[in-house]
């Protein structure tokens, strides 16, 4: 397992990658929707920390963090965001369908919740392969209102699938608060009603969060059964796009201040990492990605003939 210093370093890498997107976005270098992971880096770092060879991860449209946490080939991801020929998917996938094939993060879906049933099938394959591997699926609280996610909880439990459900609960579906969307008060109790071992956790205590995520993986590896982890978190930016939106009236900036106090980047000392180290890492990654994004912007577009390749 990684040290806290390594986890913080990875979280900073992700944040500076996202900050770099913010700085180039208005130059139209990335001509597609982007759903930034700023403020939600830690969960992805912890998932990647638990990832073993042969494990699978299924993300969603907000998957920059998990892709960066798993990958070491950042250029392939940047090129993909830019729709370039040398992107990880030849520019055909972009931000909303990112993949890290070498780590079995196959592709991601922009249809809320729809990766969850696919994760059940992948977990079924892993169960049958009997290599002790597990699958992880990441989704937001809005996904739990999708029928397919509720169906998937039943399938995973009934078929006893080695699947870690990671619910990143930021309380929002775009602008719509949970209270308007659901009568489920306790997501863990809901998952438990399907007979799934469930764990509640929050970014408000990063050390405990890490311990609980690790325990979820230990449980699934040991039992082969699914586990559900709710991670309470905050989306610092707007749902889609590169801006903050604390000024438009649907939530209060004081909320952000609260969540920043638990942030392992802004306050790395809460996990025992010196703030000088984290500031240095921030500067280093900022420079690294500024250079890398500029270089990638010069790469060639896909050939016209590639439009019709790999359809059938």
């Amino acid at each position: 397992m990684s040290s806290w210093s390594q986890i913080v370093d990875k979280a900073i890498l992700i944040r500076e990658f996202e900050r770099c997107i913010q700085s180039v976005y208005w130059d139209d270098q990335i001509q597609s929707p982007v759903h930034l992971s700023i403020g939600q880096e830690l969960a992805s770092c912890l998932i990647a920390d638990n990832h073993r060879e042969g494990d699978h991860v299924i993300g969603n449209y907000r998957s920059h963090a998990i892709a960066l946490a798993l990958s070491t080939n950042y250029e392939a991801l940047i090129l993909e965001l830019m729709g370039k020929r040398s992107g990880v998917s030849g520019g055909k996938a972009g931000s909303m369908h990112l993949s890290v094939p070498e780590k079995n993060m196959m592709w991601t879906s922009a249809i809320v919740g729809s990766g969850v049933p696919v994760a059940c099938g992948i977990a079924e394959a892993l169960k049958r392969d009997k290599n002790g591997n597990v699958a992880t699926v990441m989704f937001g609280d809005g996904s739990l209102e999708e029928g397919c996610v509720q169906e998937s909880l039943n399938i995973a439990s009934t078929f006893k699938l080695p699947l870690v459900f990671i619910l990143e609960d930021n309380g929002l579906a775009i602008y719509t608060s949970k209270e308007k969307r659901t009568s489920i008060l306790d997501y863990c109790a809901f998952a438990m009603s399907y007979g799934i071992h469930s764990i509640d956790s929050s970014y408000q205590d990063p050390v405990e969060l890490r311990s609980r995520v690790n325990s979820a993986y230990a449980y699934v590896r040991e039992t082969g059964h699914p586990c559900f982890v709710r991670i309470e978190c905050c989306r610092w930016m707007q749902h889609v796009g590169v801006n903050e939106d604390w000024d438009i009236g649907y939530r209060d900036i004081s909320e952000l201040q609260k969540w920043k106090s638990f942030d392992i980047i802004e306050n790395s000392s809460i996990v025992g990492v010196s703030e000088i180290d984290s500031r240095n890492a921030t500067l280093n990654y900022k420079e690294l990605f500024t250079t890398m994004f500029a270089k990638c912007a010069q790469e060639p577009e896909p050939e016209p003939s590639e439009l019709l390749l790999n359809v059938y």
Partner: protein
């Protein structure tokens, strides 16, 4: 070479059984699942003995969650398995559209060819005994509109056998529309090395017919009746709706100058109209006529249902109109597989 219908030792359902048993035998990573696949009726006999022979973990029943179980099949397929998801009625595929269209059809493209999705959906279209508006639909045209999906409508034992024998030779997600009324059709089997595209049912010189699914049976009855009037037909049955092979159709159409397309679905925005435009773009400028479902939901009442579908008799009538036959036509009775069908399901 034309395929003969109603002769030969093997039924359509036996052909499916033989081909799927071959797949299960050849590769332990082939799985069959869906509601009721291991029940005593064994999906019209097509999976008879499978749980005992291949294990209850390879032919298994599921929760009633068609949508998610489609995603589940996709997940299995991208992780190295060859799942076959069975639906007793094609109508339930509408519950699976998100996974089929948004997920399965995009995998190869979005992974830039790194991933395939060898996922097969068997969907059975019903008819008669009041199957009505929600147990009778055939959505081949709807799904054929989607790039990245392959939609197959085999109508003969030979075609369905070769569909399933070769279904995993590519990693394209595939929907096979079977028809309840086809299960008793008899034929001979000859293994081929690829999924058939267009199958020639009969050969002739005067009229070209292209039919889909159960309409192949109905149209062939009309073809046989036309020989009494000295008229012979090239009759093709469309199997691959997604990548249509126009060459044999165009060659025949240019020879006969007259084409009748008999679809097993509504005509608006259909594979029938696609065939029509393909023929026109290929340089055919003769007469074309189209038949298909009437533009209404399928009624439960048998008397109305008989009006809803093209029948052997109405197809014969349309052929006579195209061929300008003035002699009185002999009346073709309702096909035996329809008239003799009793439920409860």
């Amino acid at each position: 070479m034309a395929t003969s219908l109603h002769s030969g030792p093997v039924t359509y359902s036996e052909a499916i059984h033989a081909a799927l048993a071959y797949q299960m035998e050849a590769n332990p990573r082939v799985l069959v699942y869906g509601l009721g696949v291991d029940d005593p009726t064994a999906m019209y006999g097509t999976l008879s003995g499978f749980p005992e022979r291949f294990g209850s973990d390879r032919c298994f029943d599921t929760p009633l969650s068609e949508d998610s179980l489609t995603g589940y099949g996709i997940g299995l397929a991208v992780a190295g398995y060859y799942p076959i998801h069975v639906h007793q009625r094609t109508d339930f595929l509408l519950l699976c559209c998100n996974q089929l269209i948004n997920m399965a059809a995009k995998i190869k493209y979005l992974s830039n060819g790194k991933l395939g999705c060898p996922f097969v959906v068997r969907a059975i279209t019903g008819r008669s005994w009041g199957q009505g508006s929600q147990h009778s639909q055939s959505f081949h045209s709807l799904f054929a509109n989607i790039p990245g999906l392959r939609v197959l409508t085999p109508a003969t034992p030979q075609d369905v056998y070769n569909v399933y024998i070769n279904v995993f030779s590519t990693q394209v997600p595939t929907i096979v529309i079977e028809h309840r009324m086809l299960y008793g059709v008899k034929g001979t089997l000859q293994a081929r090395t690829e999924v058939p595209s267009l199958s020639q049912i009969d050969c002739g010189n005067d009229l070209t017919i292209c039919s889909v699914s159960h309409m192949t049976l109905e149209a062939e009855k009309a073809v046989i009746a036309l020989t009494e009037y000295g008229i012979t037909c090239d009759h093709f049955s469309l199997v691959n709706n997604s990548e249509i092979n126009y060459e044999p159709l165009l060659k025949s159409a240019k020879k006969t100058g007259k084409v009748l397309i008999v679809d097993h679905g509504w005509l608006n925005a259909s594979v029938a109209t696609t065939l029509c435009s393909g023929l026109a773009q290929g340089g055919f400028n003769g007469k074309i006529s189209l038949m298909g479902y009437k533009q209404s939901p399928c009624p439960t009442s048998r008397s109305l249902e008989n009006l809803f579908y093209p029948t052997a008799d109405s197809i014969l009538g349309e052929c006579a109109r195209l061929m300008k036959i003035n002699a009185p036509l002999s009346k073709l009775s309702i096909s035996q597989e329809i008239s003799s069908f009793k439920g409860p399901f």
